[in-house]
Symmetry: C2
Subunit: 269 residues, 2 copies
DNA sequence: AGCCATTCGGGTACCATGTACGCAAACAGA
DNA sequence: TCTGTTTGCGTACATGGTACCCGAATGGCT
């Protein structure tokens, strides 16, 4: 069979050791993925080309296609390998807040170690086993707390959104400077600096200007900034959890068009 | 001067009508950007190549470089053109909740009209004037409510994160199907379907499976799902706003390591 | 041992892309 | 009309993914 049915990479397991005839594979999916991750870490995902990976492995570009159908699939493998670095307990501890906080910090650490991760992760939907494991852990942290599955999914989605966005904000400008080939100092001073200065001096965006100017003086460390925002997100989740805990009915699956949770307080402005 | 100093596109205004010698420009930045947006809307951003844009304008690829320094800059222009479609009141109404809700829904509408928007927007940091206008409006909605500028920025960032993430979830799979060239039905059934089925049947991810299975039965419309999550985010912001309103000291800029807001309730699990 | 089916390695090649370079055409003022 | 300036754009190059093909390696069978 010359070409496989087009299907997800996760349905095409690596050809394992068999006992039939034919030449033995000289490489492995994992080895290729590891090299790709290493290159992306060092020089960005745009340097992670098939030729480059193959070259560093001492082979030709086309050899990689014996192990990976397309380059995009290799990206999926890279994502999942990095998600596999994230260590988590076997199950939720019972303290949902610290569980979610743990996931958030571990994902942030991975995103900082591998600055390409978030871009790939948000660039296209992917569902590798390690990503699913991390996701399942986060879902589990909110399980059995009176939330229906849609709310649990929604809250975990909110958390993911924040974590990804925060990581992007943390590394965004640095990555962009690297990507365009300037050193960050020059990029900031000559490329974006003059425009930002003009924006501030125009007076058209006073609040944005304030956020720029004051963040320069009150620069709290990135980790604490992340934690600060994370606390806000968890607070938002927590409000609904406590109220739902006081609510007797827990598996309120389908009650028509009614709200799936107890009457909740809404801030009146 | 053959080549300009590398600087932000926003610092290189379009060559306007002058009265000197030389041939008149036959095109315009806006015209080029509009065509690029149109192609991206119809066939995705990967079809938006310089040759293609130029071809549809009836000219050669290199002509575009008289108006745009690099392709990435054209992306910035596309983003800002679309942000310019977003109509907003001149200033905040005083009802922060409906103001933020308005921005969120307008951005969502733009993101659905132009399915490439979020990918470009989160792909690299950009600060076009229309984006700044929208951002400033959101900041303004939370101004003068006892929050310091860092919290305001943080909350608006949270909101952006949710909005972008929600839009991505809404169009993510459809876009991926289109991008890979299959019709969505086939993509779902033959490509990702078997894997998802295997994941569910493996039993290793029970909560993820539940979120998949029950979302099939209780499929609430995307707009309401978006609103639902948005309410959660706004609830989370609202908690801090009401508390900070009851708090006398408002400009608590630097008090060492203390929290910048009043003691806030923390849900105990 | 010799043959064969099968699988891997990877060279060559094709096509698409961004974009540097250079020159001819268009234009206003002298 | 001549001249300097600016635009239009054809040509060309480097880089990328990847289809195709064939020789090399390998183990089982006769």
């Amino acid at each position: 069979m010359p070409d496989e049915e087009p299907t997800s990479i996760w349905m095409l397991p690596e050809r394992q050791e068999r006992s039939g005839p034919g030449r033995r594979p000289g490489y492995s999916r994992e080895q290729i993925t590891r090299k790709a991750v290493q290159i992306a870490d060092a020089e960005g995902v745009e340097a992670t080309t098939m030729r480059r990976i193959a070259g560093e492995l001492g082979t030709g570009a086309m050899s990689l296609y014996r192990y990976v159908p397309k380059r995009d699939d290799l990206f999926d493998l890279m994502i999942d390998m990095v998600m596999g670095e994230i260590e988590l307990p076997g199950g939720p501890s019972g303290d949902w807040r610290s569980d979610l906080s743990l996931v958030a910090h571990r994902v942030r650490a991975a995103g900082l170690r591998h600055p390409w991760l978030i871009a790939l992760l948000t660039g296209r939907p992917t569902l590798g086993p390690h990503l699913l494991r991390v996701h399942e852990f986060a879902l589990g942290a909110l399980d059995r707390r009176g939330l229906d599955i849609d709310d649990i999914t929604g809250f975990v989605g909110m958390l993911d959104d924040y974590v990804h966005g925060a990581i992007r904000r943390e590394i965004g400008w640095l990555e962009e400077a690297r990507r365009t080939g300037m050193d960050p100092e020059r990029w900031k001073r000559d490329y974006i600096g003059p425009y930002v200065r003009q924006v501030v001096e125009s007076g058209a965006y006073p609040l944005f200007s304030r956020s720029l100017l004051e963040s320069r003086t009150a620069h709290l460390p990135p980790a604490e900034r992340f934690q600060h925002g994370l606390d806000r997100v968890l607070d938002g989740i927590g409000v609904h959890i406590t109220h739902d805990l006081a609510c007797p009915g827990h598996s309120a699956g389908k009650d028509g068009g009614a709200k799936p949770s107890c009457p909740k307080p809404r801030a009146t402005p």
